[in-house]
């Protein structure tokens, strides 16, 4: 009975997470468009619904009912698979990301996460890496030159930054002594991990920008060179899944992991402990700030060339991440 209850509970919770993520991603597009608009001194979506509030709905309706073209020369199976492979793993990361401490409503204890696996962080990274195949398949299956180049570029970038990212998260793990994301947050009770891990944090920022394909690393769909990159041949909702997965869900989830690793998760800001704000809200505030930071970078900087990106990954980011491990090791030796 208890297992059944747990299964039902997890299913419901998963559904809530997935639907919530869908809605959130749709509205994150609005957030981004509004933010970009105001950065550029224009209002962004405004007339569709009050202050453009219905804009994502209109876009979704349009994209869903658009003719679903598959190019004749494309590899049909991979073509379909690619859009799923890009989207599903991105949303699967949510399974291990905790959004706060358990809290009680009407006597029920609600856990704002699906599962607290003790290898959570590794799983998150693994899921993230799968979406790489989505990109490569998309580039390959389109059987067209621009998507091909776009896909390969993205693959080159991802491989470089996955390694750097892996070493960067070693610091916080060493300090917390666990892979569980919840465990890592709990270990930051006193001091956030950003203090000794500042180098890892820099690497993390760059890696997230690279993985989610935002400037200065948006080479895979550099419009000026490659039209739409690997999504050039995709139309309708199959197209819609890619930016949704990459630009919004992945950015959102990786922002969450950044907050967990370096900014103390749902712990309140320093000197604000007394405020009557729940841990979930704290987490969301931090998450939103990190997310906005990525947008801010995206709408400011120019982009690197692909060989410069990989050069940066191997020659700068990887050594920085290794140096960080060294520093953290000394830190642990001194402060325990």
């Amino acid at each position: 009975m208890e297992t059944l209850g747990a299964i039902v509970g997890i299913t419901i919770k998963s559904l809530i997470f997935i639907v919530g993520m869908f809605l959130a991603a749709a509205y994150l597009t609005l957030v981004e468009r509004k933010f970009a608009g105001h950065v550029q001194q224009r209002p962004g979506p405004l007339h569709v619904g009050p202050h453009g509030f219905l804009q994502p709905i209109a876009d979704a309706l349009k994209v869903l009912t658009k003719e679903d073209l598959v190019p004749d020369s494309a590899d049909k199976f991979l073509f379909y698979l690619a859009s799923l492979l890009a989207f599903v793993p991105a949303i699967m990361i949510l399974a291990v990301v905790p959004f706060g401490e358990p809290f009680e409503i009407f006597g029920f204890t609600i856990y704002p996460y699906i599962s607290d696996v003790n290898v959570g962080l590794l799983l998150a990274l693994a899921f993230g890496s799968i979406s790489l195949y989505g990109v490569i398949f998309a580039g390959w299956a389109s059987n067209s030159k621009y998507p091909m180049i776009g896909g390969l570029r993205k693959a080159a970038v991802l491989i470089g930054y996955e390694v750097a990212l892996g070493f960067a998260i070693a610091g916080p793990i060493m300090q917390a002594g666990t892979f569980s994301l919840k465990g890592i947050v709990d270990a930051q009770e006193g001091l956030w991990f950003i203090i000794p891990n500042i180098l890892a944090f820099v690497v993390m920022i760059f890696a997230v920008l690279a993985e989610t394909g935002r400037t200065p690393f948006d080479v895979q769909e550099a419009e000026a060179e490659l039209v739409g990159g690997y999504v050039t041949e995709y139309s309708a909702m199959k197209f819609g899944l890619f930016p949704l997965a990459e630009w919004y869900i992945a950015t959102f989830v990786l922002s969450a992991i950044t907050v967990i690793l370096f900014f103390g998760g749902w712990h309140p800001f320093p000197f604000m402990d007394g405020l009557p704000i729940s841990s979930f809200v704290w987490f969301m505030i931090k998450l939103f700030m990190v997310f906005m930071f990525f947008l801010w970078v995206h709408w400011t900087l120019p982009r690197y060339r692909v060989d410069q990106i990989t050069e940066l990954a191997w020659k700068v980011m990887l050594p920085l991440a290794l140096a960080n491990i060294f520093i953290v090791a000394i830190w642990i030796m001194i402060f325990g």
Binding site: A36, V39, Q40, Q41, R42, K145, I149, R153, T215, P216, D218, V219, A222, E223, A224, E225, V227, W299, T300, L301, P302, R303, Y304, R305, V306, D307, Q308
Partner: protein, 589 residues
């Protein structure tokens, strides 16, 4: 370095004497603003080589043809060269016997496209040309449009009605369901094959013509090895509208709006270059005020053009927001131009003998407001870009051009100045009020994309300086005349027509018969933001030019792209193309 306005820019008698001794057969044609040396076809290469090596005429400016159907041989080739040391130009003419001319690619690489164009437009073959294909039209096109016996409208032999209309419907009095021949995809594939007969590397990428990054409709062919370009060619003509042909059927005034539509980003600069040429041909002297207005408008347009370049360049390199910031400032300049001339983009504001309308009330206030406000905005762009490490990485040492390239390819404008060649028409041949204003000409040392970026940024500041001086002067000239209507070639203003019967008759005559320019030839140019925009006009005493050749800066500047991109990744193509800043309307005409 200061140049007086009356300095003769054409080859001096001393050099002509030297040439006459060496080549006794040459025949000299002297016009007020052009000197031509006629040489027979056999000695052409030798003669050009002598000019290049011994008389320092080492910079290639232009090559074109003129069709004389009643003369045998029918076609005449015209070359323009420039001597950077002596600051002199020379024109060389030769008759194309048997419709062939020797190719001069061995002397100047820049002649490659010009010769292709001559083949396309006139059907002249070039002996020794490496790949003589159609420049603007497609392979398989039967005609050579600039020949005098080809009609402007083309041969309407295809039934191609509007898809929106019912078969019998006639929407307008000038509608016809018959149309000139439209090529099929196969024709275009043939054109592409002719450009790149065999591929050398892995894959041939068609970059363009309808591609967001190609600044219009330029069609690039990249033969690529991975991300690296091994071989490159450019197919132009996706915006070839036959402007030079149109010029032959329009009066000198009627052609002014067409000059706007060539280089649509710097319409006023093109108008000024054209009108100056015509004025020198007709010997019309515009009044003082008109000169200052022209200079001011030209510089406003230059800022406008450079802003568009900065925006699209940054957009191509990924900085999306700069694009919108520059367009914000562009809107202001567009507002000014709209308020003064009536149209935002293709303003057709300059007239022969002056400008179309006087400055309206408040125009100078607005411009003063703009030049006060703009430097802070420029500072913002520089803060975001100039020292940004990504920007440096994408720009430094990309596409290095040296002095020799400039002469070989006939590069002009910012592209030439980035290589350290002080070639600026505003300095060499100042028209309008350019000899009365103070400004600097920024030069580069390295010749890479970064230099071109810095030079354009500096030029905007220099333009502001010029505008400030113009505003100051124009405030003193408030009530003076803006168009020299007393000249017989200048159209009267509306008020004059309303009140005087003589003006009305003059207006009628000039509208119907056009400005009957004296027989003669002229080559003059203006400093367009894209380089030297030259106009070569052959007048036969009619109301419209016999031949009007447009020497487009962007056309020659773009040519070096194929050289610079070799061995570089495709991402650099964007940076390189952006820094050369071509406009298709001008390259294709």
């Amino acid at each position: 370095m200061q140049f007086s306005k009356n300095k003769n820019l054409w080859i001096d008698d001393k050099k002509i004497q030297i040439l006459k001794e060496k080549y006794p057969s040459i025949y000299i044609e002297k016009f007020k603003n052009a000197v031509f040396l006629n040489i027979e076809k056999e000695n052409l290469i030798d003669f050009l080589k002598f000019l290049k090596e011994n008389l320092t005429f080492k910079m290639f400016i232009d090559f074109t043809c003129v069709d004389y159907p009643n003369h045998t041989p029918r076609f005449q080739g015209v070359y323009f060269l420039y001597s950077p040391e002596e600051k002199q130009r020379v024109g060389i003419k030769t008759w194309a016997e048997n419709n062939t001319l020797p190719s001069i690619i061995s002397l100047w690489k820049g002649a490659k496209w010009a010769e292709r164009e001559a083949w396309d437009m006139f059907g002249i073959k070039f002996e020794g040309h490496e790949n003589l294909v159609r420049m603007f039209l497609w392979e398989g096109y039967e005609y050579h449009p600039l020949r005098k016996d080809f009609p402007l409208e083309g041969i309407k032999n295809t039934y191609l009605p509007s898809l929106n209309l019912k078969p019998e419907e006639n929407p307008a009095h000038n509608y016809s369901p018959y149309h000139t021949f439209v090529p099929s995809m196969e024709d275009l594939e043939k054109t592409q094959k002719a450009r790149m007969p065999q591929k050398k590397a892995q894959v041939v990428l068609n970059w363009g013509p309808l591609h967001p990054g190609t600044h219009g409709t330029i069609w690039f062919l990249f033969d690529m090895e991975g991300e690296y370009v091994k071989e490159c060619d450019i197919i132009l003509g996706q915006l070839h509208r036959g402007v030079e042909k149109i010029a032959e059927t329009r009066t000198y005034t009627q052609f002014i709006p067409y000059t706007d539509r060539m280089d649509y980003i710097s319409a006023l600069c093109s108008q000024i270059a054209y009108v100056n040429t015509v004025e020198h041909l007709l010997e019309v002297e515009p009044p003082e005020k008109a000169k200052w207005i022209r200079t001011m408008m030209c510089e406003l347009q230059r800022i406008n053009s450079h802003l568009l370049w900065l925006g699209t360049y940054a957009l191509d390199l990924g900085a999306l927001t700069i694009f919108l910031y520059t367009f914000r400032e562009r809107e202001k300049i567009m507002d000014i131009i709209e308020g003064i001339s009536g149209i935002r983009l293709n303003s057709s504001y300059i007239r022969i003998g002056g400008v179309a309308k006087d400055l309206p009330e408040g125009a100078l206030d607005v411009i003063k407001h703009f030049i006060k406000d703009f430097p802070s905005k420029l500072k913002e762009y520089e803060t975001i870009l100039t020292k940004n490490r990504v920007w440096l990485k994408r720009n430094i040492n990309i596409g290095i051009i040296n002095e020799e390239d400039v002469y070989q390819y006939g590069l002009t404008g910012v592209v030439a100045r980035s290589a350290g060649v002080p070639y600026d028409i505003r300095m060499i041949q100042p028209t309008d009020a350019y000899d009365k204003v103070d400004f600097d000409i920024p030069l580069g040392k390295v010749g890479d994309c970064y230099d071109r970026y810095l030079i354009r940024m500096e030029e905007m500041k220099e333009s502001l300086k010029i505008i400030a001086q113009c505003v100051e002067k124009l405030e003193q000239l408030k009530d003076s005349k803006y168009i020299a209507t007393e000249n017989p070639y200048v159209l009267p203003t509306l008020e004059e027509t309303f009140f005087s019967i003589e003006a009305m008759v003059k207006d009628f005559n000039l509208r119907i018969y056009g400005e009957q320019a004296p027989e003669g030839e002229i080559y003059m140019s203006g400093e367009n933001p894209r380089g030297e925009l030259g106009f070569y006009i052959v007048s036969k005493g009619k109301g419209h030019p016999y031949r009007l050749r447009i020497r487009s800066g962007a056309f020659y500047n773009l040519q070096i792209f194929t050289e610079l991109i070799k061995g570089r990744p495709i991402a650099d193509a964007v940076a390189l193309l952006g820094s050369l800043d071509p406009v298709v309307g001008e390259t294709d005409r």
